[in-house]
Symmetry: C2
Subunit: 377 residues, 2 copies
C-alpha cells in the first residue's frame, strides 16, 4: 500500500460528471469489472455497500445508492435513528426527488460484526468521531477487496490512515481509501428522516491504495462506476489534497463564521456586507494556505486553487438560503464540534508553512474557545 | 481656541497621583485660582460641576466629587434613574467605600437649560450618543469659564469638537476640553444605583483650550485640582492621543472579545488560553496602530505604548473577576452598542496609517454585524 496520502496521478483538471438520468427505479446494472461484486453473500451478486453513519450525509448519499437498485446497501445506525428507521422506514425529502426506504427493505445494523466484509464502506461520520472509525470499519473490510470512501469534513487522512493501520496491525487494511467532499445542504430532521435542500455534488479522490491489487486508473474508474447508477453529480479529484482544501474553501468561511457569530445561517453571512467581506478574506487566506501546501507536496500550479474556485463557493452560498451549517447545528444543539480536523489542522498547516492566516486564526480561536466553554468535544 | 486635538505640551511620562486621604467628609477646600468658582449662583462659592449622564461612570465619579464636599454638583438624569434618585436618593456601592446622596441633597436635573453655566461639565455618555452632546452641554457653558471633561470611550475628540463648534456657531464654546479615560469596573445595577467593583484610575488629557484664557499648565493644574479633594486616583496625560490609545489597549481586546464571543465576562477571556492569546495579539496590533498614529501626529517615542502598558492591562484584567464590559452589557441587554468610536475608528485609523490589524479587524467586523443584526444603533 502506498504511504503517501493526497495522490496525484495525472495533473488534469477536475471534471464534473452529470448523470443524465435521475430515475427512482433501478435502470442501470454495471458491467464494469470494478463494480462487479467480489462478495458471495450479496443479494443477486450486487456489490455490497455499508454506509457507516447514516445521518445527514450518510443517510442522503446512502439512500441515493439504495435508490439506484444496483447495490446491496446496509446502513449502520444507532439509537433512535435505528429504532425509528427499522419500524417506520427511512425518509429522505429532497429537492432532487424524495426517497422512502420501507422497513422491510431497509438493511440496518448497529454492530459491524453482524455484517462482515463488503465491497464498499462509505464512512459519513463527524470528524470529531475519527477515533471511532477503526472499530466500526474494520469488521467490514477485506484487505484486497474493500474500498473505503470517507465523505467527511476536514484534513483527516493522515490521522485516519494511522489509526486504521494500527487497528489492522499493518498497512494493508483495504484495497483503496478515498476521501469524499460533499457540497450538499443536507440536515437530519429527526430519527429516520433527512432533508436535502440544496446542491449535492460529491467529489472524491484517492488517499492510498494497494498498488498490487488496483491501479490508480482502476480506482478512479471504480469511484465513477459507484455513482454512475445514481442521480448524484460527481467529480474526481486527481489530487485529494486539492479537493480537501477546496472543501475548506467553503467550510472555513461559512462553517467558521456561522459558529463564531454564535450560530447564524449562511444567508446572514452572504447578505451582510461586513461578514461577506470577511468570508472573502477567509477564502483568500485559505487559497494561500492551500497552494503553499500543494507546493510543499509537489503538486504543480495547475492544481492550485484560484479566484474561480472562490467565486464558485460564493455563488453556491448566495443560493443556499437560510442553511444551517453542520458545525452551527452542532453548536446550537450543544453537540461535539468538528473543530480539530475542520479548523485547527488547516490553521496549523498554514502556520507550519509560514502562511499568514490572521482572520481565520481569530475565528478558529473563538470556535476552539466555544468548544472548551461548552465542553463540546 | 487651538484647533489641534491631542495636545502634548511637554513630553514627560504619565504620572499617577494617589490621594492620601479617602474621607467621605469634606476635608479639602481648594484655594487654587483654577478651582475657585467664577459663578455667582454657586452654593457657598464652591465650584459648580454638572455631571451629564449619571450612569455607571458619571454616577460613580460624580458621587465621588459630591462626596468630597468641595463642589456644588448637579446630576443630569433621565427617566427611571431621575425618578428613583430624586425620591429615594442616589446609591453607590463601592469597594472603596459606599456613597449615599440623600434625596434632599441630590441636585438632579433633566433639562440643562434649568441649570445654566457651570465651572466644569463632566460628560459621561456612551459614545453612541455623541450627537446628543451639543444640545445637552451647550446651556451649561460659558465660553471663557467652563471646562469640559468627557469621560468617554473611543476616539471621539475630532467629531465632538466639530459638533460643538457647529452648535456654538464658532470656535470658542468653552475654556478647555479634556478627554478622560476611566479604568474602572462600574456598572449601573438599577435606577439610582451604581456598583463599583474594581479599579478606578481616571486619566485625562487636554484636547483643546482657549490659549488667551488659560495656559496648558493652568489647565493641567485645574484637572489635578478638580480631583484633589476626592479619593480618585488620577493621571494626567501629556498626550490625550496616547491616553485614548492606552484606553483602547484595554477596550479593544476585552470589550471586543467579550462581545464577539456572544457576551462573555473578562475572567472567561483571561482564563482561556486561546482567548488570552488573542487578547495579547489584539493588544500588539493596538500598540502598532497607536504608535503609528502618534508618529503621524508628531509625538516622540517617549510617548509610545509598549509592553509595560500591555502588561498593566493584562494584570488589571487578571484581577477583574467576572466583570461584564460595558459593550457586553449593552449587547446582551439589546441596547445601542458603542461601535463607531470604540471599534470602527481605531481600525479605520490603523488602515489609513497602513498598519495591519487583521485580528482586530475580524472582531470589529463581527461586532459591526451584531450591531446591524440587532439594530443596536
Amino acid at each position: 500500500m502506498a504511504t503517501i496520502a493526497f495522490r496525484s496521478t495525472t495533473p488534469t483538471s477536475l471534471s464534473i460528471i452529470r448523470h443524465a438520468f435521475r430515475s427512482k427505479s433501478p435502470r442501470f446494472q454495471s458491467t464494469s469489472s470494478s463494480l462487479s461484486s467480489l462478495s458471495d453473500d450479496g443479494d443477486n451478486k450486487r456489490p455490497s455497500i455499508a454506509i457507516v453513519g447514516s445521518g445527514a450525509v450518510g443517510g442522503y448519499y446512502g439512500a441515493r445508492l439504495w435508490e439506484s437498485g444496483s447495490y446491496d446497501v446496509k446502513f449502520q445506525m444507532r439509537g433512535e435513528n435505528l429504532k425509528k428507521s427499522t419500524s417506520d422506514g427511512f425518509v429522505v425529502t429532497s429537492i432532487d426527488g424524495d426517497i422512502f426506504i420501507p422497513p422491510d427493505q431497509l438493511q440496518a445494523f448497529e454492530d459491524p460484526n453482524d455484517v462482515g466484509p463488503v465491497d464498499w464502506v462509505v464512512v459519513c461520520l463527524k470528524s470529531s468521531s475519527l477515533s471511532d472509525i477503526p472499530d466500526l470499519v474494520y469488521p467490514l473490510l477485506e484487505s484486497k477487496r474493500t474500498r473505503i470512501l470517507t465523505i467527511m469534513n476536514g484534513l483527516i487522512e493522515e490521522d485516519l490512515i494511522q489509526l486504521l493501520k494500527e487497528r489492522a496491525g499493518g498497512e494493508e487494511f483495504c484495497a483503496a481509501l478515498y476521501g469524499g467532499m460533499a457540497l450538499v445542504c443536507s440536515n437530519r430532521t429527526g430519527p429516520g428522516t433527512v432533508d436535502h435542500s440544496f446542491a449535492g455534488l460529491l467529489s472524491g479522490g484517492l488517499a492510498i491504495s494497494q498498488e498490487r491489487v488496483f491501479t490508480d486508473e482502476e480506482n478512479q474508474q471504480a469511484f465513477q462506476d459507484l455513482w454512475a447508477p445514481t442521480s448524484i453529480d460527481i467529480a474526481y479529484e486527481q489530487s485529494l489534497l486539492a479537493g480537501r482544501w477546496r472543501k475548506c474553501l467553503w467550510n472555513l468561511p461559512f462553517n467558521g463564521i456561522s459558529v463564531a457569530m454564535g450560530g447564524i445561517t449562511v444567508d446572514k453571512i452572504v447578505n451582510d456586507s461586513g461578514l461577506r467581506q470577511l468570508a472573502n478574506i477567509i477564502m483568500d487566506e485559505t487559497v494561500s494556505a492551500a497552494n503553499a501546501d500543494m507546493a510543499a507536496h509537489g503538486f504543480g500550479k495547475e492544481m492550485y486553487l484560484d479566484d474561480a474556485d472562490k467565486k464558485k463557493m460564493m455563488d453556491l452560498s448566495d443560493n443556499m438560503g437560510p442553511y444551517r451549517t453542520s458545525t452551527m447545528i452542532d453548536f446550537v444543539e450543544g453537540r461535539p464540534l468538528e473543530v480539530n480536523y475542520l479548523f485547527t489542522k488547516p490553521v496549523e498547516r498554514a502556520r507550519a508553512l509560514g502562511v499568514c492566516v490572521p482572520h481565520l486564526d481569530t475565528l478558529v480561536t473563538q470556535i476552539e474557545a466555544y468548544q472548551r466553554f461548552g465542553n463540546l468535544k
